[in-house]
């Protein structure tokens, strides 16, 4: 794990050389949600390939660019493109951006993803505030010898998502008059979409939305002691008794339709930090 700490140091040094500001928050942009970066007054953009120890991005709809600048005057970094376990990364590697963000000084993590809605009240294009999560990925980024410098051996998970930030987000949605659900996000390994039986299982376990990311990043953010806000865009509704086919392109198109709502929430929460 000492090796991990030194890898993060090297990566952070490379970013600081290009952009010396201390970010207040880090934002991880999920499938098709890259539009938020247009709201950032960009001061530097760094290709992932220029960041030491960062893996290569292969996922559909993910670019692989670190955007540094200010969002309504607040210094932020935004990860355009993330790493997934289904790409073959282990959970520790997939969550490297979060460690980097914390090392650069970010105190809050805003994480977004595209998810399938299993809660029957959800509709395509809706946004769900992640209230809690279930890890069904069969991996954990904290496996291995713990580096006490980075965080505790056994991080508490009683409230991985920050209640205050959730409240702020909920107020913004009310003020702007759009629906913002709250629910439980279940992460599975993928890359196959779920079968009908798997959707039923996810519902039975208490999940509202299901996806293939976010959980490793949030685990690491909590390990580092960061405040977390999580948002899922419902890109397809998964009612197991009337299931249609799902395609990656459809998911990305649906994610685009929620871009405006997501941008509004993230701007409001980040400026309130």
């Amino acid at each position: 794990m000492l090796q991990l700490a030194s890898q993060i140091d090297v990566a952070a040094t490379a970013v600081r050389e290009r952009w010396p500001t201390v970010p207040r928050a880090a934002i991880i942009l999920g499938s098709g949600l890259g539009g938020l970066t247009e709201e950032i007054s960009v001061e530097a953009t760094i290709e992932y390939s220029d960041i030491p120890h960062f893996p290569h991005v292969s996922a559909l709809g993910h670019r692989g660019l670190l955007v540094c600048g200010t969002l309504d005057g607040v210094p932020v970094i935004a990860f355009q493109g993330r790493f997934h376990l289904y790409e073959g990364h282990d959970a520790q590697r997939a969550s490297l951006p979060v460690r980097l963000a914390h090392r650069l000084g970010a105190e809050a993590l805003v994480v977004s993803n595209a998810a399938g809605g299993v809660n029957p009240r959800f509709q395509v294009g809706d946004v769900m505030l992640i209230e809690d999560q279930i890890n069904l990925m069969f991996d954990n980024p904290l496996i291995g010898i713990n580096d006490e410098e980075l965080g505790p051996r056994f991080p508490d998970m009683s409230a991985p998502y920050d209640r205050e930030l959730m409240q702020t987000a909920a107020e913004i949605a009310r003020r702007e008059n759009f629906v913002l659900h709250q629910g439980v996000y279940v992460a599975m390994l993928g890359p196959t979409y779920e079968t009908r039986a798997e959707y039923r299982m996810v519902k039975q376990l208490g999940g509202d939305a299901v996806g293939m990311s976010t959980v490793p990043e949030v685990l690491v953010a909590r390990h580092e002691g960061m405040r977390v806000l999580g948002l899922s865009t419902i890109t397809n509704v998964c009612s197991p008794d009337a299931l249609g086919e799902t395609s990656g392109d459809e998911v990305i198109a649906a994610a685009g339709t929620a871009d405006g709502k997501l941008t509004t929430i993230v701007r409001g929460v980040v400026t309130g930090l």
Partner: protein
């Protein structure tokens, strides 16, 4: 992933050298279900060891050979003996034969396996047409960089088992007057059998039978666009509130006793596929 492509080609070439027909279907025969292989006409038998990149089978009552020939006049390749995650193989390795079947020209995968029955309506020796599946193996054969030549990055799983073939099989069972259930199979890693608490858990999440195979092969079959027919043979009952210790020999014996039903369904589905033109 190009490496995977080369492995598929090398294995397919080795098989073509021994047997030059184009199979209509690939068949995977599970624990105790190898008897069907004896019915294959003018068989060409190839040891897995002779096929490049094929792992070797170590499981009880799995032989480890590919039988190429004809069933009911339809050209097929049948795996007598399969590979399991609990043997220590990666899911990519386990599923290589499915990709090779596709490369040889197969359009349909027929897969059979022995399972524990958790649905209390089931009995040992019953067969279940697999309607759907849950992957609890903690891994997926498609993890890694996707080769778009082989299939899509995110395969749809809304109907992994071709509904038409489920219906064909149910009709055969009705005609032949035997019970064929239709249900949900969950795959776990094994090799230990489940605890009573685990059976309750698996039942609670909505499954009827539990096994240690098939899910990886079916995921890959869907990825490469094969039609899939899956059959579970209930070899023992796993009712958590009256659980008896499992005896592997008994499981194999029950699987053997179910063979006539299995044969009727596999041959019937195969004929249906051959008549699709």
């Amino acid at each position: 992933m190009l490496e995977l492509h080369d492995q598929i080609e090398a294995a397919a070439d080795a098989i073509r050298e021994e047997w030059d027909e184009t199979p209509r279907a690939g068949i995977i025969l599970g624990t105790g279900l190898g008897g069907l292989a004896e019915q294959i006409e003018s068989p060409t038998v190839i040891d897995y060891e002779q096929i490049p990149h094929f792992p070797t089978s170590t499981a009880v009552s799995h032989r480890g050979q590919l039988v190429c020939g004809r069933l009911e006049g339809v050209p097929i390749v049948a795996m007598e003996g399969r590979f399991h995650q609990y043997e220590g193989y990666s899911l990519k390795k386990i599923t290589l034969p499915v990709r090779v079947m596709k490369a040889l020209g197969a359009e349909t995968l027929l897969v059979t396996h022995a399972v524990g029955g958790m649905n209390p309506q089931y009995q040992p020796g019953d067969v279940m047409i697999i309607d759907d599946q849950i992957n609890l193996m903690g891994d997926n054969p498609l993890v890694g960089i996707n080769d778009d030549q082989l299939g899509p990055r995110f395969p749809d799983m809304s109907a992994p088992y071709t509904p038409e073939l489920c219906e064909v099989a149910q009709e055969i069972a009705r005609r032949e007057n035997f019970v064929a259930h239709r249900g949900v199979m969950v795959a776990v890693t094994g090799p230990n059998l489940e605890t009573r608490a685990e059976y309750r858990f698996l039942r609670m999440i909505g499954t009827d039978v539990v096994g240690m195979s098939t899910v990886p092969e079916v995921i890959v079959a869907v990825h490469c666009g094969l039609r899939v027919f899956g059959l579970s043979v209930v070899t023992d009952m796993c009712l958590p509130d009256s659980l008896k210790p499992a005896v592997v020999e008994e499981i194999v014996a029950v699987a053997n006793s179910a063979e006539p039903k299995l044969r009727a369904l596999v041959l019937g589905v195969l004929s249906h596929e051959a008549s699709r033109g």
